[in-house]
Symmetry: C2
Subunit: 174 residues, 2 copies
C-alpha cells in the first residue's frame, strides 16, 4: 500500500481546542496512521488549555497528494487561519481529491472561507450555526453528521462519535 494511504494531515493554528487536536492525533496513530501537523509557520502552537504542538510542516509546503485525509480541530485556530490562502488551498485540495475530511467545533469556518459549504449537510459549534447557514450549508444539531466524505461534529463531548465515523470512512477508502 502506498505510504500516503497511511498519512493524515491536521491543520491548525494558535489557540486550538486542545482535546480536538490531541484526540485525533493520538487516535489516528493508535489505528496505525502517521499524523502530520501543519501550521501557518514553524512557530510552536499553544492550545487554549496550554498544550503545545510544534508543527511538522507549514501550510505553504503541504502537498495534498501525500495524505489520505484531513482533520480540522476547533478552538480559536480556525478563525486565525481562515484568511491564509495556503490553508484554503489545502482544504479545497482534499475536497477535490475526494479524501475524507473531519471537522469539529469552529473548524467549519475554514470550509466557509474555502467556499465548500453550499448545499452540504454538516454541524458545527452552535455559535457559528448562522454562518454555516448563511454560507448555504444545511446545519444539523447532531453529535456527528456524515455527508459523503465530510464528517462534522459540534464540540469535545461529540468526539467518540466523530472519530468512530471518520475512522470508518478512512478504512472504507483504504
Amino acid at each position: 500500500m502506498p505510504e500516503e494511504e497511511h498519512r493524515i494531515l491536521i491543520i491548525t493554528g494558535r489557540e486550538f481546542e486542545d482535546i480536538e487536536l490531541l484526540y485525533p492525533y493520538y487516535r489516528l496513530r493508535e489505528a496505525g496512521y502517521s499524523v502530520v501537523v501543519a501550521g501557518p509557520s514553524q512557530e510552536t502552537l499553544v492550545g487554549k488549555h496550554g498544550y503545545s504542538v510544534k508543527p511538522d510542516t507549514i501550510f505553504h509546503d503541504v502537498i495534498v497528494d501525500q495524505y489520505a485525509g484531513l482533520v480540522i480541530p476547533g478552538g480559536r485556530a480556525p478563525e486565525r487561519i481562515r484568511l491564509d490562502e495556503d490553508a484554503l488551498r489545502i482544504v479545497r485540495g482534499f475536497f477535490e481529491a475526494e479524501k475524507p475530511v473531519a471537522v469539529i467545533c469552529h473548524g467549519p469556518q475554514l470550509l466557509i472561507s474555502a467556499g465548500l459549504v453550499r448545499g452540504r449537510r454538516l454541524t458545527s459549534w452552535p455559535g457559528i450555526k448562522d454562518d454555516v447557514i448563511a454560507a448555504g450549508g444545511i446545519w444539523l444539531d447532531e453529535p456527528v453528521v456524515v455527508d459523503g466524505l465530510l464528517v462534522s461534529s459540534r464540540m469535545p463531548s461529540d468526539i467518540p462519535y466523530w472519530m468512530r465515523s471518520y475512522l470508518s470512512i478512512l478504512e472504507g477508502k483504504a
Copy 2:
C-alpha cells in the same frame, strides 16, 4: 452480556493530567463502553490544563463488581488521592478480581500505596521510577508495559500504545 462487562471506572482527583483522563474517557466510549468517573467527593475536578470533570460517583460508593476495568490517569491527582483508603480499596479490588487496569504517568503512586507493585513489571513517569523500584517493582523504560492485566505507560505521548494494549486486553476478557 451483563451490563458490568461494558462499564469502565476512572479514578482521579484535582489536577489530573487532562489528556490522560480525556483520551481514555472518549476512547472507551468510542469503543462502546460506558465510562464512570469517581472522585474523592462530588466536587468538580479541574485538570492541570483547566478541563473540568464532574465525578459521576465518589470513591466510597464504588462497587468493583459493577465494572469491567479500571483506568488511573496521571498528573498531580494520584498523589492527592493515594492516602484515601477508599481509593486504595478500589485499586486492590480490581487486582483481586483480576480485571484489567490501565495506569499512566504518576498513576503508579496509587499502586505503590496499595501495596501492589512488588515483583511486577511496569513503567511510569520517569520522576517516580525510583519509588516504583523501592516498592519492589521492575521498572522498564518503554511506551507501554503489559504485565498480566496491568497496562502501564510513561507519559501523554505513549497514549496510542497505552490504549491500544488496554483495549486489546479488555476485549480479550469480554
